[in-house]
């Protein structure tokens, strides 16, 4: 009984906060637009009883999903999102690994402070932090002023409203999600393993490739998924920092909902996005599972 109660709580949580909203979105995606509140039909009218429910079911169809295949905007946006997310994940990894490595090799008494510094930005609003990048990256921004000031460039660089700005924004925002799992993998590593590798004939560099990297593999994989999965659906960063040519599915979704007020199509976009995300999420879970088994 005790066990049952323990299991019920998280399942209820999932049911109420994930499954029910998802079913609502799924239902909307199968509906048609209407000039009404809410802006779609059919709506479930239970006062008619069984006949009303049958009416409701017959009003649902896959029209919106078919529509997504007819306009190439959508699959281009999906593809572009995956591409941007992939590149951004790799860039984040490149920036995060040395930071995590430095934190793990820092003296013990420094580590809590360094950890704090990584987490600290979360205490400020995400929106404000992204806005501040507008101030840094714009043509009259701090970065251009600084570079002009020290004479590296003579013309201001156009960074804001390009994909570069989007990458900078994503790397900046998701850096802690990459650093923390890698740090925790590196921190657990036994320092004598590197000495053993050296003792057996490795140079410092080859010991890094043959021992440090493989042993932090699980941290790298976890970090990559933690960055990749939310980045695909990212909306705030591309709309604030990206330009007109930055095509991401999160932005398309927003426009369908709020500019076109086409809730059914927007919901269909969201459902497909979820289906795309299920693949990396399942892979991520399997990686976690494997790691637990190896440690078990």
């Amino acid at each position: 009984m005790r066990r049952f109660t323990l299991i019920v709580v998280p399942y209820f949580w999932l049911l109420a906060l994930f499954l029910v909203p998802f079913l609502i979105v799924l239902k909307i995606s199968l509906s048609d637009t209407a000039v009404a509140i809410p802006p779609y039909t059919p709506t479930l009218d239970l006062s008619q009883g069984w006949a009303g429910f049958k009416d409701f079911l017959s009003g649902l169809d896959f029209e919106n999903f078919t529509f997504l295949t007819t306009d190439d905007l959508y699959w281009k946006a999906y593809l572009s999102s995956v591409k941007i997310a992939t590149i951004a994940t790799i860039l984040t990894l490149i920036v995060a690994y040395p930071i995590a490595y430095g934190m793990a090799s820092a003296p013990d008494h420094w580590r809590p402070t360094l950890m704090m510094l990584v987490i600290l930005p979360f205490w400020t609003s995400f929106l404000i932090r992204v806005y501040s990048w507008v101030g840094i990256l714009s043509n009259e921004g701090y970065l251009n002023q600084f570079l002009l000031g020290i004479g590296v460039i003579s013309e201001p660089l156009t960074i804001l409203n390009t994909n570069t700005a989007v990458y900078i924004g994503i790397v900046y925002t998701y850096l802690p999600f990459m650093i923390l799992p890698i740090y925790s993998a590196l921190e657990r590593m036994d320092g004598s393993l590197l000495e053993a590798a050296e003792d057996l004939g490795c140079s410092r560099a080859s010991a890094f490739w043959l021992v440090t990297i493989p042993l932090s593999k699980n941290g790298i994989i976890a970090g990559c998924f933690l960055v990749f999965i939310p980045t695909i659906g990212e909306f705030v960063i591309p709309s604030l920092l990206g330009g007109s040519q930055t095509l991401m599915i999160g932005k398309v979704l927003w426009e369908e909902f709020f500019n076109n007020r086409d809730w059914p199509v927007a919901s269909a976009v969201a459902v497909i996005l979820l289906l795309i995300l299920i693949i990396p999420i399942v892979l991520f879970q399997r990686n976690e599972q494997k790691q637990r088994e190896a440690e078990g």
Partner: protein, 374 residues
């Protein structure tokens, strides 16, 4: 047929494999190794023994190349090894934690060092199989380190460090993680493998029994100095200092003053008690303060006054440490001096002749005790 005793340290012609020459190592203000010079010969099983923080691990890490001496030189086969990085030394180390690569199988762990030498593949396979056989791990090649037992892991670590056929193998507390029974078995295995491969072994340990069992010579260390380096028998029977006598095994140390008398010395250790007789090669001044170290197993315990013993004292049993095969009796003399006496429990416990509060006689010969300056 007489067997030649392996004792290159007594042969002035023998060339040592390793020479420490006035080696000092400092970490900041802390002196880890204090101006030490000593030699280790090829095919020796040399043990560095001491309490934690005595510098034994630093000594080993300098041989491996993870530390460099602050002053002095270390020669390996006549060559100064200070400028040679650890990955270029013909020295391998077996780590205390074993440091097996968790992402590699047993086979790949052993092959790791060989691959770094760009050895041809078939040669690597041959060598790894040979090592697996030597350490009786043939069946476990495909397993990962976390899938085998502690004892097997220890053998993988040994196989990996021996695979490159180093001139010198360093073992850092190699048996520390094993339970007592497995440790004893493994000690003999280690000696066996050392003999088979003819490799020079240097072992670091804080376990004196382990050092005594495996080593051809034991160096007892304290505060960055080697106090005595000698064969286990000499360390035990002829310690050169109170520290060594006290560190190795059980001992009773009696403080007194020496007076030359006949072939040996009379040691006066209290008012109104007859002095103790001790033969010694150590030359002491008359009246010089000294310590007499007596091993408990060399003291005979009897109920009646012994006949013709060089030393005989009477006392009361205060404590009995029952070890199963042996019992150690702590006997207090009338002047308060405690003396330990050990006797084998050849009879069943119920028929033991002595118990607490019994008055007994202790006796030992003049050669049983070791007279130390003090």
């Amino acid at each position: 047929m007489s067997q030649t005793v392996f004792a290159p340290w007594n042969d002035p012609q023998a060339k040592p494999l390793i020479q420490f020459k006035n080696v000092t190592k400092r970490f900041g203000d802390f002196i880890a190794i204090d101006n030490q010079s000593f030699d280790i010969y090829a095919q020796e099983f040399f043990a560095l023994l001491g309490p934690s923080g005595c510098g034994k691990t630093t000594m080993m890490r300098m041989l491996a190349g993870f530390e460099t001496p602050t002053e002095g030189t270390i020669l390996l086969a006549g060559q100064d090894i200070a400028p040679i990085p650890p990955n270029k030394r013909a020295v391998n180390m077996m780590f205390q934690s074993y440091a097996l690569f968790p992402h590699l199988s047993v086979w790949e762990n052993i092959a790791f060092g060989l691959k770094r030498d760009n050895m041809p593949k078939d040669k690597i396979a041959e060598r790894v199989d040979q090592m697996l056989k030597l350490t009786r791990l043939e069946k476990f090649g495909k397993r990962k380190p976390h899938q085998i037992s502690g004892g097997q892991r220890q053998r993988v670590a040994l196989a990996r460090s021996l695979a490159k056929a180093p001139k010198l193998l360093l073992l850092d507390e190699p048996l520390g993680a094993l339970d007592a029974k497995l440790r004893q078995e493994t000690q003999f295995e280690l000696m066996d493998i050392q003999e088979k491969t003819g490799t020079t072994f240097v072992i670091v340990t804080h376990d004196q029994e382990e050092a005594m069992t495996v080593a051809s010579r034991v160096a007892v260390m304290d505060h960055g100095r080697i106090i005595q380096a000698d064969t286990p028998a000499n360390i035990y029977e002829m310690p050169n200092s109170v520290y060594v006598a006290d560190f190795i095994g059980e001992v009773t140390i009696i403080e007194g003053r020496a007076t030359k008398s006949g072939k040996g010395y009379d040691v006066t250790y209290g008012e109104g008690v007859p002095p103790l007789r001790a033969h010694s090669d150590t030359v002491l001044q008359n009246g010089q303060a000294c310590h007499l170290a007596i091993r408990p197993e060399k003291v005979t315990i009897t109920a009646d006054p012994p006949q013709g013993a060089d030393n005989a004292v009477q006392g009361k049993i205060i404590d009995i440490a029952y070890l199963g095969n042996l019992s150690t009796y702590h006997v207090e003399l009338p002047n308060g001096q405690m003396i330990k006496a050990q006797s084998a429990n050849t009879r069943r416990l119920s028929r033991r002749s002595f118990t607490w509060e019994d008055t007994v006689w202790l006796s030992w010969t003049a050669t049983a005790g070791v007279l130390l300056e003090g």
